[in-house]
Symmetry: C2
Subunit: 171 residues, 2 copies
């Protein structure tokens, strides 16, 4: 009977080296190959960079992209319940609970028990939430979107958003 192979991680690496390792500069940047043409790859790298910039711009208000999107949705859709707001953003209802706890404990929004259906919580921005959102929008417009627009050109930025929305919607 053959002893089953131990996990690969335990087997110590051994033997042999690629033939002509001498040709490569050794410290040259790696070749991305077809990775550079893969939409998913550039999409992911760009998304990380954009969120990073958003976070740094929003630092004074301490709002994440997800929190900002929740506040925006509450403003545009007052009177909606948790399930509606969460599902619109692709957030699972259980995961939305802690998020709302955080926003509500900071006094940015409130949960009101609905009079028409006492199971559900109607979500509303507080005055502080509205004021914070005004400041947040100004920061995003002035320091974040403007920066992207300066990089790509405004018409390209708009075209980019439109294509991404189409991919998210129709792929």
């Amino acid at each position: 009977m053959v002893i089953s192979k131990s996990p690969a991680r335990k087997a110590k690496p051994v033997r042999m080296q690629p033939k002509a390792a001498a040709e490569m500069p050794a410290d040259a940047p790696l070749d991305l190959g077809e990775l550079a043409d893969l939409l998913g790859y550039s999409l992911k790298r760009a998304q990380l960079r954009v969120f990073e910039d958003f976070l740094s711009v929003m630092n004074p208000l301490q709002l994440t992209p997800a929190q900002f999107s929740v506040l925006l949705l509450m403003e545009k859709n007052p009177g909606r319940n948790q399930t509606e707001i969460a599902s619109t953003l692709g957030i699972q209802r259980p995961n939305f609970v802690a998020m709302l706890d955080s926003l509500e404990s900071r006094g940015l929004c409130v949960r009101l028990r609905s009079v028409s259906d006492r199971r559900s919580h109607v979500l509303m921005l507080t005055d502080k939430g509205r004021a914070t959102l005004v400041r947040a929008k100004k920061l995003v417009a002035a320091k974040h979107e403007t920066r992207i627009s300066a990089l790509l050109g405004e018409s390209n930025r708009v075209a980019l958003v439109r294509m991404l929305a189409k991919v998210a919607r129709e792929l």
Copy 2:
């Protein structure tokens, strides 16, 4: 002395309702407001959708986008060590260990102790890894990228990737 406010999540929601809740269809899709113009938002939604499609196309080979990118990099850059491959992909070295364990245990690649620097492991695709990569590339090209190209048009797809790469690189 005032009792400190209990966590917002414990305070039961109460009273009051938005004035004219009667006007809204109640089941209408929510208004995204400025969210629809936020690059970060469409970027994130598109990225999730594209990865989802990639995963379903790659289902027969059981390769995640991250694993596929690692195999591609090994192919184009034979003889590089873990630190080089990981950092090129933005993966922390400690997190790369389990990933390599998985690929190596599946027989797709090997770690060879470098003869020039015995601290480092040179990464190489196995024959099975090369064969798997060939099949993976064909699947991605035929079922994934083609689908995106059909949706946007090939010239738009290329323009999209170029803009995303620029954002990732220069923002």
